[in-house]
């Protein structure tokens, strides 16, 4: 009896440390913390400092006051913000519907050549923005592009404009180029979601008398709503950060003509590193990055609590 009781208590206390969990988790967590999370938090902290002798001086929200208060800064900020919003809206209105339409066509059962189409549509997404930027400059440049000659050949030469060089059309042209490049990503996500709609559901709808078009609207679309939400938020994040690459490689750091294609990314880059006459400022750079951080946070928050909650998931 005595030994029994003893071993019983021994047992409840004996839980060996499971070191392997630590071994599996530690490397990823460490790299991610040091090179992703720490810099973001540190940037948030730096945004509350200003250059002083050697170390920064804590200034509270003075940098933000400057960013939103001084016309020199505020004008640039709001201009970049406005352009980003336009970029986002245009992507939502043009890119995602195109992606959805193409995905819907691709997911038609037994479509001939579906694999080939899929590969082709995704190709531009694979390219570096440097390549994409150059390709489209080669096509659109009034000096050495091929569009003028091509349009002459079509007999519509008089309609040619240096679209990338005009303030009125530069941003929309950049948007269209960006759409040309990135339509593949929402397309893949939609396509995968559409393929995941169970065959039985579609057959049931067919038996209920719906035809192809209505099946898409009434059955498939509601089922892939969560993916629509996901694509929306990915578009949002991408527009506020990744749009830098394309604009920088086509229009340069000044996001010309006359800042008409300036976005938060290029603004941040100029603020941080300086450009031409303007000197770089680490602390204002951190401030712009932090402002961008909050903008994205608002978007993600809206998505998580507003959109995603309402969009029911129809898993398995």
């Amino acid at each position: 009896m005595r030994t029994l009781a003893k071993s019983g208590t021994e047992q409840t206390h004996r839980t060996p440390v499971r070191w392997y969990i630590l071994v599996f988790l530690a490397p990823a967590t460490l790299i991610y913390t040091v090179f992703a999370i720490y810099p973001i938090i540190e940037s948030l902290r730096l945004s509350l400092y200003q250059a002083g002798d050697g170390q920064g001086i804590f200034v509270g929200i003075a940098n933000y006051a400057k960013l939103f208060g001084e016309p020199l800064w505020a004008d640039q900020f709001w201009n970049a913000f406005k352009n980003n919003v336009l970029l986002f809206v245009m992507h939502m209105l043009i890119q995602n519907p195109i992606a959805l339409a193409l995905a819907a066509l691709l997911s038609i059962p037994n479509l001939k050549g579906a694999a080939a189409y899929r590969t082709i549509f995704f190709l531009p997404t694979l390219l570096s923005v440097v390549v994409v930027g150059f390709i489209w400059q080669l096509i659109l440049s009034p000096l050495w592009g091929i569009s003028p000659a091509f349009m002459n050949w079509l007999g519509v030469g008089s309609f040619f404009k240096p679209w990338l060089g005009l303030e009125s059309s530069a941003l929309i042209t950049i948007t269209l180029i960006s759409i040309w490049q990135y339509v593949g990503i929402p397309l893949m996500l939609f396509y995968a979601a559409l393929l995941n709609v169970p065959e039985e559901t579609i057959e049931a709808a067919r038996i209920d008398g719906l035809n192809g078009w209505w099946i898409f609207w009434k059955v498939k679309l509601p089922l892939i709503l969560p993916t629509l939400g996901l694509v929306g938020i990915l578009t949002y994040i991408g527009n506020f950060t990744a749009s830098f690459d394309l604009i920088y490689s086509i229009q340069g750091g000044l996001a010309g003509p006359d800042y008409s294609t300036d976005v938060m990314g290029t603004f941040l880059f100029r603020t941080f590193f300086g450009f031409q006459a303007q000197l770089g400022d680490v602390y204002m750079g951190a401030t712009v990055a932090s402002a961008l951080f909050f903008i994205i946070l608002v978007g993600v928050g809206l998505y998580l609590f507003g959109v995603q909650r309402r969009l029911q998931r129809y898993d398995s």
């Binding site: 990823a28 810099p39 940037s43 730096l46 082709i120 694979l126 390709i135 091509f150 750079g285």
Partner: protein, 278 residues
């Protein structure tokens, strides 16, 4: 009925082919012209590189006169090492998250995928400082570490979703067969996640190979330049040497293209396997 079906079929293919042309035309333009002499490019940008308009000079000058081979090996090193790290460390973390219950598991799970929503670029200011302090400025290591950190969240997310859908009985069975937890990971879990590795690889590789931001900021030096950055600067320098510029662009395209074609079939399978559910 049959006629109507055929008509709508033809309509569908017309739309798809039209968009295919739109997607391919600019690429074709680059490839075609990269094989042409400067004169031929301007005389007939749409012409095929045949007869006397053919010229391999562009490629020759890219591969000999410039530092392109170096850029290329830089990009390849950065991309491959980051990719291996992302896949390995990501799978390890995902395995731990999906297999074991431990205090704080939910928190760590959420923490590790936060990076999907919060782009690492926002930390650039501090990141540069960190890299400089670590003495890693202008090294490939800096890029590798940053890209690994950037790629881990999405990799962990996809792997975890996938591993949660895999029955745990197979791992239990391995335990009964006497495998240690480490060997279970390498001998059972790794083979299991193979279908989604392609998906993760493609999604992680594209932004790394094509990135302009971090090479420009963290390692712009001559020795550590990546292809993307190299091409970007090259275009500025050699605006006269068209053949070379076009050839350099083509060279920059090829690796991603090859990788994509290899993985393309598995990519879709991986996505639809429920990996990216949304």
């Amino acid at each position: 009925m049959l006629i109507k079906e055929r008509l709508s079929n033809a309509g569908i293919h017309t739309v798809l082919i039209a968009y295919s042309l739109l997607a391919l035309f600019p690429l074709a333009l680059i490839l075609i012209n990269s094989f042409k002499s400067r004169k031929a490019i301007f005389r007939e940008p749409m012409g095929l590189p045949i007869g006397d308009s053919f010229s391999g000079k562009g490629y020759a000058s890219v591969l000999s006169n410039s530092d392109f081979p170096l850029y290329f090996s830089n990009s390849l090193t950065v991309t491959c090492v980051s990719l291996v790290l992302i896949l390995l460390l990501g799978a390890m973390a995902a395995h731990a998250l999906s297999e074991y219950r431990f205090p704080g598991d939910t928190f760590i799970g959420i923490y590790l995928v936060l990076g999907i929503m919060v782009p690492i670029r926002l930390g650039t200011v501090a990141l540069l400082e960190l890299i400089v302090n670590l003495g890693l400025a202008n090294t490939l290591t800096a890029l590798i570490l940053v890209y690994t950190a950037q790629g881990l969240p999405i990799a962990i997310f996809i792997f975890t979703e996938f591993l949660r859908s895999v029955s745990r009985e197979i791992k239990d069975s391995a335990r009964i067969d006497g495998l240690s937890e480490y060997r279970i990971f390498f001998e059972v879990v790794i083979p299991l996640v193979r279908p989604v590795i392609a998906t993760v690889a493609v999604f992680s590789m594209i932004p790394i190979w094509n990135d302009l931001w971090f090479p420009l900021i963290l390692s712009p030096g001559e020795e550590t330049r990546t292809v993307t950055l190299g091409v970007q600067q090259f275009i500025g320098q050699y605006t006269v040497n068209w053949g070379a510029v076009l050839a350099s662009l083509s060279v920059a395209i090829v690796p991603v293209l090859v990788m994509y074609i290899i993985f393309s079939k598995q990519l879709i399978r991986g996505i639809t396997a429920g990996a990216v559910k949304g």
